[in-house]
Symmetry: D2
Subunit: 319 residues, 4 copies
């Protein structure tokens, strides 16, 4: 059986160890591993190649994805999906493993309906925003990259009376900002999912300044697009000079952490264990177990942030 | 209510964020936080001090424990425990939180029987060897310190035909070595709990060398005390020059990871939530939840390594 | 003899090891070390305290400055300098060591003319923009923080066809951007000192894309205030999606590197070796030696970027 | 002109950026770059390959050497050197660049006398033990790897009354141990070049313990082979529990620092600028400049540790 892997959408650290595990696991199961380069775009363009141990030597500790990724507009047109299908046939690919977010899963689900190519989806995005799933590949690494940045800034923060605004990734999802703010003891946390209250924060901050507080760390999700406004707010309303750090793609590129590597291996193993007898599923991590789910169950559910974490962060949102 | 915290036995990264959380949590609950310095030894010597926010500023990212730790022989003698009790009385300490291993828990359990000082135990040791508990404070950080060392060595390993022996901490317990070997893709893993077979490994290695393998990474638990013997084995039996790295206390000192900080906060919060109405318990992490347990249940159980992980590592042990 | 140290202006990594060395060196020379907290502001407010070994334990690896820093407007008014002088007299301070940039040196030079308080200046700023001086405290650490960020981004860059804009610190001075671009192999380097040519860069980039280039790393100095414009330029003119990373204060906060610690120690030692017999000087690092200079020589010279480095970077500026 | 590069002897971080720079610089100068894999052994075995940009993409931040290294016994026999020469002729190699220590330079010097193959030597070894040369590739990175380890251990050291023995690389040369001990503020430094005095150290340590010292950091060069004896000495003579860390090959594998990358680029550029008109030289770094030297001048000089650094470390050696 020939199985191809592709990575799709935004890359995340952990994709490379997943690709390595995929090759090793295929050999153990007597499958033949293939790479599809450049995601769905590459499938349309026929960038398909047999993979070997040599291709994955030394990639376990690298962020990003060696088979590259893409966002594909062409995929929405049936004629390109047809071409992609022909490319798979020509290369005798029997099944697909895709690493990406729910958009990527939907892309292959449509493809399955049309051409019956079995696939398994593995959640990989630093947003951690897949419903019915508690971990997506890349998250623990991204969180630790943010932690190191916050720790570095804390040292200099205490040298000066200043407010530091740190913008983390996450378009519609504030998971990284929320978790980082709680884990690293920030004073402010603003995310798209929750209506924050700056007036309440102002009252509290002015009180704290009277009691000796000399700096503020604010963690703000990229999706709100307000980092520079918050900087001005600190300067105008709180009277503290303020500085912005936009972490950007550093968050996708750190070396995969231990948990990243271990979970990644389980995701891939579960996908390959089931692809023959139970295809067209998404492997999810839920309640400390790896569980197969139908895409429609995921699509029909709503992603929600952890209640516990939200409760801990309320104070940081002024609510 | 006056509550004192102490750290006991070997230190581990994560103790400092725990101490910080303890102070913050006490204030939230209107408890008065105290520090006992130097563990049980310090309790005997009366090193007890009221704690404040200022004491814990800027410690969240530091390994080790700012209130220091110790191993106490005097504690085994009732007369010293009596002195410790007097010291607590003089300082009006109503209850204790202890971070340490099961030896430390037993020490306070005896003390509770004698003097009725309520306490809560929080597992903190990089060995991760507490029965009925899946996480001890310090483990995720230690694993990531080891990972970085292995990644550094891998770069140089591929430059030279060599075998690298990396010794991780863990006296009777091979948890760190086992998990690191699996997560980092080592070729050998030797731990005290499992009888390994060097003859089988030799056969496999010689085969692999024929097929082009040019280096070996071996992860060996400290408790076996064989790192230098394995080095010689590689040179004599496999014909590869070999080098030893003893990671030592680096593993206790890295900056606490995100998971470390989050779990640490939950451990401390659970302890303080329950110390009044349900004291003399150990807070354990089990099946992704924080569960209170009686010490005797823990003592009467046997610590066991994860079956899954062991299965993955069998090949690396030659069995 | 009582000598006080203060840090002034923007903080930089290396100030803490300098403070530690100051205390140790004072003891060796039988001087009594004092701290002035919060820079010149603190001198006006009388925040002066005798220092001890204990104050500097464990600070060698921390970024920022434990005695804090400030920018002082009041210092420009003679009445406040008079107050500062009274504070020094009351604390029996005989001489001052100041870590900062040339603005800070000028502040103490004026003070010396008025009140005859001997001082020595030590260049400490991540801008590395002091004339007749080749190294300012903080630079090697900042460069290595930037390097790690660029390396992280490079991994993810090769996963996707994208242009990454990385903004480094430096208001009027492009030293960090220039050196980082050369050291890390960036494709673009824009700094305030040199007129760049985007049209030339565009021509070259479009050629390189034809020849297979799949990503761009651009390093841009903060002082130009164009990071987001360059992002748009890449999207519009080059046709590559683009992302911005603003490193911000991370660059002031990394743990001081080895060179930072060694040079810092020499700066402080040279200052203390000369403060009695040859005060009112700036310690400079020049041609691999530590040289005392008069402030007026520094002030009358112009800071210039290294010719060699500029030559190497011309291609990255389109000139 | 066809120029080949090889790496020889122990690998060091910085070899990869040197290899990258070599390829880039060759293209700029219209030379054709070649790789010789596996050092002198590979030259004998004919492992010679034309190099391209693609071979060096993404290697700038990796420790070790992608063209691998070796120590060659066969090279001492003329018949193997003859074979090596034939291999070069067959591949039309006109000149060689070698990265390694003085043993490697001597190997090519003999070869030059016999076969007139022009070469340039670039010092690359973490020992930093080449006479008339102040920097060898790999040193700044190795020093910073050691620094991070020492900093990690310091955190845990202050948690416990303990003595920590850290063994750094360096067979006959104590450069790394000496510089690290001074830069990181260790209490003991033992190196092969200097006769230390444990009795004096004991006296001082016992005094310091009385005055409150609670831990010791000892940095010991590998070449002395006494790390475990020093551990026992601390336990027996000083009464402190002691732990050993053997850093080993971690020191060769960290990501090259900024200074590493910059100096590496200058070394390679200087070698290629001169190989045609002035071959058979060693590029040295001396007094902040890159200087060509005859091998015999180097061989006839004696490597000596920096006087200044030795003076600073005397106290740590008990002399």
């Amino acid at each position: 059986m020939n199985i191809a892997i592709l990575t799709s959408g935004g890359d995340s650290s952990g994709m490379n160890p997943a690709i390595k595990k995929f090759v090793e696991c295929c050999y153990e199961k007597n499958y033949t591993p293939y790479f599809i380069y450049d995601g769905l775009e590459g499938m349309i363009d026929g960038k398909i190649k047999k993979a070997s141990y040599k291709d994955v030597a030394g990639i376990i500790y690298r962020g990003g994805t060696i088979i590259r990724s893409s966002r594909s507009k062409r995929w929405y047109e049936k004629k390109y999906r047809k071409i992609a299908y022909e490319n798979l046939k020509n290369n005798k690919i029997d099944a697909l493993i895709i690493l990406g977010g729910d958009g990527s899963f939907r892309a292959l689900d449509v493809f399955y309906d049309e051409f019956k190519i079995p696939f398994m989806g593995i959640p990989a995005t630093i947003d951690n925003d897949i419903p019915l799933n508690e971990y997506t590949i890349g998250v623990d690494t991204a969180l630790n990259v943010i932690r190191e940045a916050v720790d570095d800034i804390r040292d200099t923060a205490s040298s000066f009376s200043r407010a530091f605004v740190i913008e983390t990734m996450g378009r519609e999802c504030g998971y990284l900002a929320l978790t980082s703010a709680v884990a690293n003891g920030a004073e402010m946390c603003l995310i798209p999912e929750v209506k924050y209250n700056l007036d309440n924060l102002k009252k509290r901050y002015l009180d704290e300044i009277k009691n000796g507080r000399s700096y503020f760390l604010a963690i703000v999700a990229e999706g709100l697009n307000i980092s520079y406004k918050i900087k001005e707010w600190f300067e105008k309303e709180i009277g503290f000079e303020s500085r912005v750090t936009i972490l950007g793609h550093i968050q996708r590129g750190g070396s995969p952490t231990v948990i990243e590597r271990l979970r990644t291996a389980e995701f891939v193993k579960t996908a390959l264990d089931n692809i023959e007898k139970n295809p067209d599923k998404i492997v999810t991590y839920y309640d400390d177990k790896f569980v197969l789910r139908d895409l429609k169950d995921i699509v029909n559910s709503k992603y929600e942030l952890d209640e516990n974490m939200l409760a801990l962060a309320k104070k940081l949102m002024g609510i």
